[in-house]
């Protein structure tokens, strides 16, 4: 477990250092994520097998534990939001309509474009079929 956590933290740390030293408009953990994909790909290429597919692989183990409870990690920030409910209430109608309307529109536009372009590019493999 410690190996897995350390691997994630090292990627995040390198990500933060990269973002801050180059002044990139990106969160450090996103760069860390890209680094981890590259690291897994390199290890897999060297070992000539999938580096994280083995049962009990520490990185896969910790990643699955974190992502399986991803919602928990938003609770502390979410509780902070409760303090600002009056700020939302002050512009209630505009904020409510804007959040609801644009969330539905963004979901529809994204899923519609994804499906349309997938069909146009002719890639409609069996995996997506019900």
């Amino acid at each position: 477990m410690i190996i897995g956590i350390t691997a994630l933290l090292v990627c995040q740390l390198i990500g933060e250092i990269t973002v801050r030293s180059l002044g990139l408009p990106l969160p450090g953990p996103v760069v860390g994520m890209m680094l981890l994909v590259v690291a897994i790909a390199l290890r897999s290429a060297l070992a000539r097998k999938d580096a994280i597919a083995t049962h009990g692989n520490p990185v896969a183990h910790v990643a699955d534990a974190l992502l399986g409870n991803l919602g928990l990690l938003f609770v502390p920030a979410g509780v902070g939001v409760v303090q600002y409910l009056d700020l939302i209430a002050a512009n209630g109608a505009a904020i409510g309509a804007s959040i609801l309307g644009s969330t539905v529109l963004a979901l529809l536009a994204t899923v519609g474009t994804f499906r349309l372009v997938k069909r146009l590019t002719g890639d409609n493999d069996a995996e997506d079929r019900p």
Binding site: L35, A63, D64, G78, V81, L100, V111, T113, F114
Partner: protein
């Protein structure tokens, strides 16, 4: 130690509120599981409500709470890095979906930002509120930085981002089912783009492929949105 002194000690110690956060989450997850993971019974919303009520009843301020809860909050960074794992597992499908993904990223991001601004304007919101709303579909740290740079209120943005995340996580399943869309990659990508990490948390509960694509959409929109928001805001002024 008398009970009052013990309470004063415990209620201000990190142990108390870290434990309370975990218990609230386990209780919320149990309720969500009992409902058959009904989309409207969102565990994030429930856990926030449980903790908020506990804080209200005990008159504990957010700073004291966060001293304990920060250990959970800190894991958001490593969890973002961990998205590499589902991405790698689905690398075949991700590579094959590159073109639809990039197209959906561009169209979806423009619609997310543009429709937010348009609707807020229609309701006569002042500029600082509009600028606070514009980056609402992207992950909180990025959204707050964008909001600050474009003349919004970062704390209002944080509140709006979390609300958007929970709302998207609640409506995505019924909406996609009604439309008859069963492409997990497309569904996941849409919720990650519209509702960042909280949408991604929902996607992982529904299907691992949806989770992978949702995480990817969240990461990609964190790259695109900071560039997009100032442009759209300037066009609409």
């Amino acid at each position: 130690m008398n009970p009052f002194a013990l309470w004063v000690y415990l209620s201000t110690s990190p142990l108390m509120w870290l434990t309370a956060t975990l218990i609230a989450w386990l209780a919320a997850a149990r309720v969500a599981a009992l409902s058959g993971r009904h989309p409207l019974v969102n565990p994030v919303l429930l856990a926030i409500a449980f903790v908020a009520v506990a804080l209200k009843l005990t008159a504990i301020d957010y700073k004291t709470y966060f001293d304990g809860a920060q250990f959970v909050h800190f894991l958001l960074g490593p969890a973002t890095v961990a998205l590499a794992v589902p991405l790698w597992r689905n690398r075949g499908l991700v590579t094959r979906s590159l073109v639809p993904m990039l197209a959906a990223l561009m169209v979806g991001s423009v619609v997310a930002v543009g429709s937010t601004i348009a609707i807020a304007k229609l309701f006569g919101a002042p500029f600082d509120v509009i600028a606070s709303l514009a980056p609402k579909s992207v992950t909180a740290p990025v959204a707050m930085a964008v909001s600050e740079r474009t003349g919004g209120l970062p704390s209002l943005t944080a509140a709006v981002v979390v609300t958007t995340g929970i709302l998207g996580a609640m409506i995505v399943t019924p909406l996609m089912n009604r439309l008859g869309i069963r492409d997990w990659a497309a569904r996941g990508f849409a919720v990650g783009l519209a509702s960042h990490g909280i949408g991604t948390a929902r996607a992982f509960l529904v299907h691992p492929v949806a989770g992978a694509f949702s995480g990817l959409a969240m990461a990609l929109s964190a790259v695109v949105t900071p560039i997009l928001v100032p442009i759209v805001l300037a066009l609409w002024r």
